[in-house]
Amino acid sequence: MTAMATATCMQRQRGGDLPENEPAEHERTHNVRPADWRNPVPVQRYDLVVIGAGTAGLIAARTAAAKGAKVALIERHLLGGTCLNIGCLPSKALIRTSRIYAEMRDADRYGALASPGIPADFALAMRRVRQIRARASRSDSAQRLTAAGVDVFFGQAAFTGADSLSVKGAILHFAKAVIATGARPATPSIPGLAEAGFLTNENAFELSEAPRRLLVIGGGPLGCEMAQAFCRFGVRTVIVQKRPLFLPREERDAAQVLSDAFARDGIEVRLNTRVVNVRAEGTRKVVDLVSDDYESTVTVDAILAGTGRVPSVHGLALEAAGIDYDRRHGIHVDDFLRTSNPRVYAAGDACLAHKFNDTADASARIAVQNALFHARRRWSSLTIPWCTYTDPEIAHVGLYVRHARERGIPVDTYTVPMHDVDRAIADDEETGFVKITVDEGTDRIRGATIVARHAGEMISEITLAIEARIGLRRLAHVVHPYPTQAEAIRKAADACNRARPASRAQDLVSRSLHWLRR
């Protein structure tokens, strides 16, 4: 239960047989925030100063250093940022274990003997999460960054002028800077919530015990991923979402398929429902809900706020450098990721609407190229896929059909349900589909949504095709290993060829058949 978990956290601070005393946590701490670290003496002027050492900051620093630039990297908290420490990576590790439990319980579906009543060991799963975090922390440790030619500073950065900033009393001058301070969980303003206590991704991975009952506020990607993972550890889970549509940004069928999958898992999804009050009663949290004119109350042991993320822009003294920003959208940038200060660029969650690891990575590369090497790369020219790592996963790239229609772009969509794919049948992973949208009457790919167990792995083929301007028909000629679930993409390409064969190709086929029949 949460109170117990909180107590465990407090015990941790007193030492003992606790997670932070594990070798894995020691190793991670040593890599991402060495206790004995001493900031270097700044050089006279850096080619590039990077503020924030999450995904975007690390990529920016490494990319610039690899090209020979003199680079400083400033981190307020932990190297690796959200992704490594409290975001993508630990959540995927936890999701992996939760999938194992789900499969064990469902073993008879796969022709294996099910073992009823398998107890889920949350602490064991979390130990694995910490081991994986430690392992991942090796590649971007303070020591390795230093070896790569990056001056690593720990401390809060604050601009002191258009081309300078301070960190722990030291002044760093720069030719160019990249702000990559990331984002932090948005805190819902619900009466009583702060007093009762709640989890976010920042502290959920510190739990050593799973709560018995969990309320997830917000049905976005993070909330959905964590809700399903916790549910599969045996936690009775309720998702409460203000908006009436489940996953409102996603393709409707994708949301429908996931909604059904959640129902199978036993997750209760309450849409069009607001949390109006929270109060602690002993170790429990009593949550009042309102849906239209219906009021109800649920009692849980923990609350997870999955209500989005807000850019981290506080404490940077951005005004001193003439950098425009606001607290909701973060740093204002143009299509070249340049801020209102021409020396300063931004990358990642601090400035982007799409707060994903891959977008942070891509934006950092663009920012460095534009800042240091006079490139004119545009953010809008990128093809950006994204994936929600639920089971099944939902991956998307390019335009949604509704956006195409809003822009007056006529489109056709080729749909292949996963139940038409042999490998999906063999794997008993038939839930989902591949939908590929093309310009009407052509095979130019505009976008795709994939819902499948491994949709995140499959979407890259479509991203590549869009980026390389490969038409859908051509994908029919790409040999896909049989049997694989990615064959669904080839089947969509086959359907496109059958529906609208290229005129020259059809002409050839007709001639050949005519010749054969002579």
């Binding site: 549509l245 059904d260 069009n272 509704r402 229609r405 969509t413 749909t415």
Partner: protein
Amino acid sequence: MDPITSSENEGLLDDVERAAFDYFRHTVNPANGLVADTTREHWPCSIAVVGFALSVYPVAVERGWVARDEALESSLTALRFFRDSDQRGAPDSTGYNGFYYHFLDMRSGKRIWRSELSMIDTAILIAGALTVRMYFGGETAREAELREIADQLYRRVDWRWAQNSGRTIMQGWKPESGFLHYGWEGYSESIILYVLALGSPTHPPAPDTYEAWTATYQWENLYDIDFLYAGPLFIHQFSHAWIDFRGIRDPFMRAKRSDYFENSRRAVLVQREYMRRNPGEFIGYDEQCWGLTACDGPNAADAGTANAGRRLFGYTARGVPYGPDDGTLAGWAAAASLPFAPEIALATMRTMARRYPEMVLDHRYASAFNPGLIDSDGRFWISPGYYGLDQGIVATMIENHRTQLIWRLMRNCAYIVTGLRRAGFAGGWL
């Protein structure tokens, strides 16, 4: 097997259509014209079912099942009730701004179940009112009164208010909490709603509302069939009860070189392809046995469902290819698709009735059945009682298949014609 003669087909259709019509006769409250949502005990009135009742009264007259005067009286009673109903929009009223609460008490006609003021169900009620308005064209005072009341009811509906300053029409409203809107996502049964709204001479919605609604359409190639996608079959049927979509096209269908009638035929083909594949391995599914649509369904608490081994969905909109699907079929869905794919639908009606005669006793379709859920007495699950919506769509669509009666009436309805034109429909009979 002997070929089935056309007279045998006519006999079958006559029996099914008559049985469907009888639902309304048996469930109407003659004092106020309200019709029960289902035959289950103490069930309230659904305003959409009243709309279907009004739509089939002319059918019954033409087929000699009731006298014209009786049908006129039933229609007038219902229309008078709605005209005189409490329109204050209070929690216990009947309606507001020309719309009506979805479920009403059968006797008092007041709101029940804290139901919502329903835009689509009001549209179906109004479509029924306009159907009798077009049919009862006689010179008698009572027929004139009927026409006048139907006109009043239609003109009273404030479609603009129902937009709530948005681009599309909201889906509901409650006195306790205001508008309900879950967003329009893709093709739905609501063409009739938008056409009626746009045809209004008094309170039409903004002219671009139809375009805004259709902006969420998805044209898909599924199982090698190109169509405007919607999973449940009823979506491909309901607006067709009143509007003859053969050959008329809105801008979307013009661009796709199709029409909504042809689209509904393709929806039948998609349904059959799904059934042939039967990804859920459900008992009874094949190309001759289909019908995933909005219908009743088994719940976990029902007898015989303990060993279902899967989730059961109760009353819900079942669809292909993404479900929900728990092995529950609506036998009536084939009958309601008769105009679009007559040979397929007739063959399916016969096959399903032969295999599962219990789900169509005395020629009246149960809302649904599930051939894979067997109780301790060896009987498969059948929805108890009957639903008015099912009977309404069966009767109207069989009649449209046989004589196009309702289509012909509504093709001459100026409001429908205006609404279609304002939505951008052109061509064909329009």
